[in-house]
């Protein structure tokens, strides 16, 4: 056998071996990265789970009612605060049945409610 063949037969396995080793290490690295990511995902899911519970805890209606009473000027909706398009004083406006008329109705509604609140004249 000649020298080039010898070099080829020694060199090729060496290169393949080194390449395989490198790939193998890379795969191992990726595997541990995957495991880490999986663990992180699981940890985050767990955190989200705990935060969901906390969210529900902080949104207890009893607590919200207490806070709203202290900080906001809100009360349950009274029937007289609600109005519909069939409301008698507005029924004639609605008869036009087009958007322009509805806009006027909406405007009237807003003005009406502002006046009753004493915010407009």
């Amino acid at each position: 056998m000649n020298r080039p063949a010898l070099i080829l037969w020694i060199g090729l396995p060496a290169i393949v071996t080194i390449a395989l080793l490198l790939v193998s290490y890379q795969v191992k690295g990726l595997e541990s990265e995957l495991a880490e990511l999986e663990h992180a995902a699981l940890t985050q899911q767990e955190e989200i789970h705990v935060l969901n519970a906390e969210w529900s805890f902080l949104n207890r209606p009893e607590r919200l009612a207490r806070l709203a009473k202290r900080h906001l000027d809100l009360a349950p909706v009274a029937p007289k605060q609600l109005i519909t398009f069939s409301y008698e004083p507005l029924a004639n406006d609605l008869a036009a049945q087009d958007f322009a008329a509805q806009n006027i109705v909406m405007q009237n509604l807003v003005t009406h409610s502002l006046i009753t609140k004493g915010l407009a004249q």
């Binding site: 193998s24 595997e31 995957l34 999986e38 899911q45 519970a53 805890f57 009893e62 009612a65 409301y87």
Partner: protein
């Protein structure tokens, strides 16, 4: 390599034979070791080649085929979903009502403990709730394992970890958490330390909750509404204080689907410490307790009498004086001392009238009717606590008459509200459920018709009149057309009734022109106060509580109030819903002759 050396070796031996000059001899003598060496070399070469082949093969296996493990792991943890032992429970809007949170439990392996005395001292310094002797005993005992404390809080976990005691370790566990605390305790129930449901929904649907947990994202969607539950809970709590009541129960139910939006029994207890609560706190008055619910039963009597055509709305009964039957005397709580028609019997809650109506229907038909309403057997409800109604074994005439006004039969409040919902939803049997179910129980969906639509319409009219003119006036919630019936009953004790121990009930629904929700309020032994002029009847306590509940939950549930102007003017409107007309007109006492 071996080829090379053989060749050079052979060359050398050739040279040697030349030197000796005896070629033949030397060749023969030299041939023997040469053969041996060749064989040895070949064997050695073969062994080396084999070794290298094995190594090479292993290398290929490790580097190229070794990925199986990770592939498997990826396949296993598809999405890496968090799996828990028990599924979450959410309300109809997705609000979390119960969930499992990871926690750590502390245990000791006594064989690894160095100094049990020191360990006990240190543990007690961070977990003061435990007893020192107990820890010492566990840490110095023979064996490999003993629990010190289950489900530590994160702070406790950290504190114990910081002690760095050998022999003390943690086991990851799950703990059932109820973010709303006691609010749902009589509905959801609670679980034990091993995540087994011990009461309420948790116990009744224990297996379902465990199975649901296995599916990713699986959760149990209940019919409950935490906002409605809160309103009912808050109003009942306030009423218990206001009227110095021993207990209370409240239920809100969708009359068409049977979904239970709220279910409360007071007093209640913490789901984390059921053991330290009293029996009276753990007792579910809404579904387990059976009570004689008094006059609310007149709704069933009237519906039954109308359904069997025994009476019509204009028929009158003599209520001029107490009614004597055998050795009993039936009296009215709100005596009118005159002849009353069917609507007046309801409005003034006349026992005498209801008893006579029941007698005219007869025992057999009454029993059958109540049975069809589900009043005589436990409800198929998703709770571990389902009360069995108490009804007379021998259904005699006197029983028929007393049952006509709600005495001599004991049912749970849930029975009452389900039966009531059936009467006013158009006549289809309402089966209560805690699970979300959007399909209304109609005849097309296999719903069972109990009373005719016309009877149901009449009942709605009557219920509305009770609130407009009768004993339930204080239950009115402006704009929401509440209708219902009061019930004040003396509590039964051994051999009779307790005069001053009352069960007051109001069962109602809204809006009465097209009922959507039924509400029940029950107070256990309420007392009169200054505001009620000393009266303790249902009209004075249960009714106003119901009115307050309705006015708060109706906007939440999207019930459109009847506007003040349209209530007066719409009677002549032909397009108006007929039933709506019926209620309003009857409410004003006009169109009565049409019955």
């Amino acid at each position: 390599m071996s080829d090379l050396s053989v060749r050079s070796w052979r060359k050398a031996s050739d040279d040697m034979s030349l030197d000796t000059g005896d070629q033949k001899l030397s060749a023969r003598q030299a041939g023997q070791p040469l053969e041996t060496a060749r064989t040895r070399l070949f064997v050695a070469g073969a062994i080396f080649a084999l070794c290298f082949a094995v190594l090479g093969g292993r290398l290929v296996q490790l580097s190229l085929l070794g990925g199986g493990q990770s592939q498997q792991r990826v396949a296993e943890q598809q999405g890496g979903a968090l799996t828990l032992q028990r599924a979450d429970i959410v309300d109809r809007n997705g609000t979390l009502l119960a969930t499992n949170l990871p926690s750590h439990s502390l245990y000791v392996n006594p064989s690894q403990v160095l100094d049990a005395n020191e360990a006990a001292d240190k543990i007690i310094s961070v977990l003061p709730g435990l007893t020192r002797a107990d820890i010492f005993h566990k840490a110095s005992a023979k064996g490999q394992f003993a629990w010190i404390k289950r489900n530590l809080t994160p702070e406790q976990h950290y504190a114990v970890n910081r002690l760095g005691l050998p022999g003390f370790s943690f086991e990851r566990e799950e703990r059932r958490v109820y973010p709303h605390g006691a609010l749902f305790v009589h509905t959801l129930g609670f679980t034990g330390v091993d995540n087994k449901g011990l009461a309420g929904l948790e116990a009744a649907l224990d297996d379902d909750l465990k199975q649901l947990a296995a599916t990713p994202g699986g959760k149990m969607v209940t019919a409950l509404d935490s906002r409605v539950q809160h309103v009912v809970h808050a109003e009942l709590s306030a009423a218990m204080i206001e009227f110095k009541a021993k207990g209370a129960a409240g239920i809100v139910i969708d009359v068409n689907s049977g979904e239970v939006l709220a279910l409360t029994s007071l007093p209640d207890f913490s789901p984390y410490a059921p053991g330290s609560s009293k029996a009276s706190q753990r007792f579910n008055r809404a579904t387990l307790g059976v009570y004689e619910l008094g006059s609310t039963f007149k709704t069933f009597t009237t519906a039954m009498a109308l359904e069997y055509d025994v009476v019509d709305m204009n028929d009158r009964y003599d209520a001029t004086k107490p009614l004597k039957v055998a050795r009993f005397t039936i009296r009215d709580d709100h005596p009118q001392n005159r002849w009353l028609d069917v609507s007046e019997i309801m409005i003034h809650s006349s026992n005498i009238g209801a008893a006579q109506m029941a007698r005219d229907v007869g025992a057999e038909r009454q029993k059958e009717f109540l049975d069809r309403l589900g009043m005589l057997s436990p409800l198929p409800f998703e709770l571990a606590e389902n009360g069995r109604p108490l009804a007379p074994r021998h259904w005699r005439e006197i029983n028929t008459m007393t049952i006509g006004f709600g005495h001599g039969i004991a049912v749970t409040p849930l029975h009452l509200i389900s039966g009531f919902a059936t009467l006013i939803n158009g006549g289809i049997k309402t089966t209560p459920t805690l699970l979300r179910n959007d399909t209304p129980q109609t005849e097309e969906n296999g719903g069972e018709r109990v009373i005719a639509r016309e009877t149901s319409d009449s009942m709605r009219t009557l219920m509305r009149m009770v609130v407009e003119q009768g004993t339930g006036k204080k239950a009115e919630a402006e704009g929401y057309l509440v209708g219902g019936k009061t019930g004040t009953a003396e509590k039964a004790t051994v051999g009779g009734y307790k005069k001053n121990a009352l069960i007051t009930t109001f069962v109602g629904a809204f809006p009465m022109d097209a009922p959507r929700y039924a509400v029940l309020v029950m107070l256990d032994e309420p007392h009169g106060n200054k505001a009620t002029h000393g009266y303790a009847g249902a009209g004075w306590n249960a009714a106003p509580v119901l009115g307050r509940i309705v006015s708060q939950i109706a906007p939440m549930l999207g019930v459109m109030p009847l506007l003040p102007s349209s209530t007066e003017d719409n009677n002549e409107d032909d397009n108006q819903d007929n039933t709506q007309l019926l209620v309003r007109a009857a409410g004003k006492g006009r169109h009565f002759a049409s019955y």
